[in-house]
Symmetry: C2
Subunit: 355 residues, 2 copies
DNA sequence: CTGAAAGCGCTAACAC
DNA sequence: GTGTTAGCGCTTTCAG
């Protein structure tokens, strides 16, 4: 019994002792902890001989630095917090991709949270991420409840809000006005002579940006003396099949439609697929307009209209702002970067009744 | 000069003093740091009165805990490392989504890294993430160079390899055999009577899984006494347009083709779009087979074949393994979870020459 | 149930 | 160039 207990103890001891620290590296290299520490980061004031010795020792004993401890000595860590509403929507994957791309080869690592378009959850996620004392934070959108804005401000770290420039801006922002994007597209469509325009969308609750595009779109129609011919909205995910179904419904209820504005490219593509089956000429008889300029918007080149957004560019620009503000002098001011979507109407331009 | 210096100092002091710590909470609540600490986590041995006092004080002074310091006292943090090859491919977004979903409402937060299918970079990313002393780690794939396997093993934390079950498994694994997936699909196609089968893929270097599917596919053809009629491979991203272009090329060079296997759904869909334009009957005259069962594989229901994979399920299962192993007794064993893809051939089944 | 002391692994600041 | 000292904010002992 006793022997076994001792054995267990020694095993446990071995596991605990396992953690290889800077001290071990220092001893193995025959220098002090400080010299080892300095040598392992970019050595400024360490002799070449010692740098070599330390790096060699570290590699040999398999030393893995402890960012936790290192960060504790500074006011914050080398983590960059990222809060996105969703990841199944590939738009945000592109954003995330832009962020990770910009953070490549830097000392920063993204810590990630998803809000699921839920304000409560978003608050909790942000709070949790702030507990890791990130050097900077990227959050999506400009519509936050007061409580969230409070902790964001109190964090006293560089903050970049992305995607949307319409609402409240706390610090820096990268994106564009979705209201304007919707407005501009409506103007462009009206210019091609289309007037009997409908809307079909998958705008889930709290997707403020899709709602803003729609609002801007309606505002432009209104200014031109038009209304939406029809207005369908479903709370769903499988957007291609939703587009297939709703375009059918819309066309039977409103055969006069000559254009439909969709909340995104997927649902517009779904509608196109259905129109191809029904042999409806797109865009000649019916223009279909999506949003984002994803790969799928080119499924049949020229057929779908869209606003091409630079998702990765937004993520990248946001991360770069943080890099500037976290590494450079703290004097760097807040920035506002607007990356306007590019309207692409394809064949619709060749078929405008005004030409 | 002197006055200014003092002023600057005092400003700096103010900023530094800014950090609100547990001590401040304790003082505000009139208890010791320890009582405050215990009260703020799930209090077991703290009087209800004190729990209330502490929580109230914390909220009032806007205290945000410091996970960095908390983690330093334990052997590792509440971070979960996640390393994926890529995020522009929506497959990995779905995986990530599954991971964050499973980590919701837990104390764990994902720390994220992208390898870009580059082994060097993957090694660096893993090493960097390990420096944050994560409680567990999720990595993609089963093909790692020796150096990477070494640090993975030395980390002594629960590890889950995802997506692929074919290669070297270090600890736990969630995914399926891509070799078998390719093999099974070829068998299924041969059973429908298709025999003049080609391959078109976007398999970038180090995308071991796509390569394994292709290898398994070829093995099944070989066993049945067949060869690939044609074999196109490009290193590109815009897969829809690649599919459009390559199917044209393949058909003019090999008009006898009755089936094409693609490396994924996007490129298969691109090919389908082109075939629709050319009025080629799919799948009657030409079967097109993708992989993953993404939304786009249903663009024209029944037309495309595919293997439906559960990406989110893989991410979720991997995260749950880590949760079990990080929170439960450490005695929990390694796990292997296989989530086989489901073959979906759509209209091809109704058109098989064997029926 | 509560508190005091010690220390997690590292680095800034100051000696030498 | 290099080493020593102190301490980041928290939690784990262990003593009340």
């Amino acid at each position: 019994m006793r022997g076994e207990a001792i054995h267990l103890l020694s095993v446990k001891d071995e596991n605990l002792k396992k953690e290889i620290t800077l001290k071990d590296v220092a001893e193995a290299a025959g220098v002090s902890k400080m010299t080892a520490s300095r040598a392992l980061r970019g050595a400024n004031d360490v002799s070449k001989v010692n740098v070599e010795k330390v790096k060699k020792a570290a590699k040999e004993i398999g030393y893995v630095g402890n960012h936790l401890a290192a960060s504790l000595t500074k006011t914050n860590s080398n983590l960059i917090g990222v809060v996105l509403p969703n990841l199944t929507n590939i738009v945000f994957s592109h954003v995330m991709s832009g962020i990770t791309g910009a953070l490549d080869d830097t000392i920063f690592q993204p810590v990630f949270g998803v809000s699921d378009y839920d304000e409560e959850k978003e608050y909790e996620v942000i709070k949790n991420i702030l507990s890791w004392r990130p050097a900077g934070l990227i959050v999506t959108g400009t519509n936050f409840p007061e409580s969230t804005k409070l902790i964001l401000r109190q964090a006293k770290i560089p903050l970049v809000q992305i995607m949307d420039t319409d609402g409240d801006i706390i610090d820096s922002v990268v994106g564009f006005s979705h209201e304007k994007a919707g407005y501009d597209m409506a103007r462009a469509l009206l210019e091609t002579g289309r007037e009997r325009i409908g809307f079909i969308g998958c705008i889930i609750e709290n997707d403020f940006r899709a709602a803003k595009r729609k609002a801007g779109f309606i505002r432009a129609l209104d200014e031109a003396g038009h209304n939406l011919v029809c207005d369908y909205n479903v709370d769903s995910v499988s957007t291609i099949s939703v587009g297939r179904g709703l375009v059918d419904e819309a066309l039977s209820a409103h055969p006069e439609l000559d254009c439909i504005y969709f909340s995104n490219d997927d649902i517009a593509a779904g509608a196109l697929f259905r129109c191809i089956e029904k042999q409806i000429a797109v865009p000649e008889d019916l223009a279909l307009i999506g949003f984002n300029g994803m790969d799928i918007s080119n499924c049949f080149p020229g057929k779908l209209g869209t606003s091409v957004t630079d998702r990765a560019g937004i993520g990248s620009a946001a991360a770069k702002i943080l890099l500037r503000r976290c590494t450079g002098e703290m004097s760097i001011e807040s920035e506002k970067i607007v990356l306007e979507p590019q309207i692409r109407l394809g064949n619709l331009l060749e078929n405008s009744s005004s030409s």
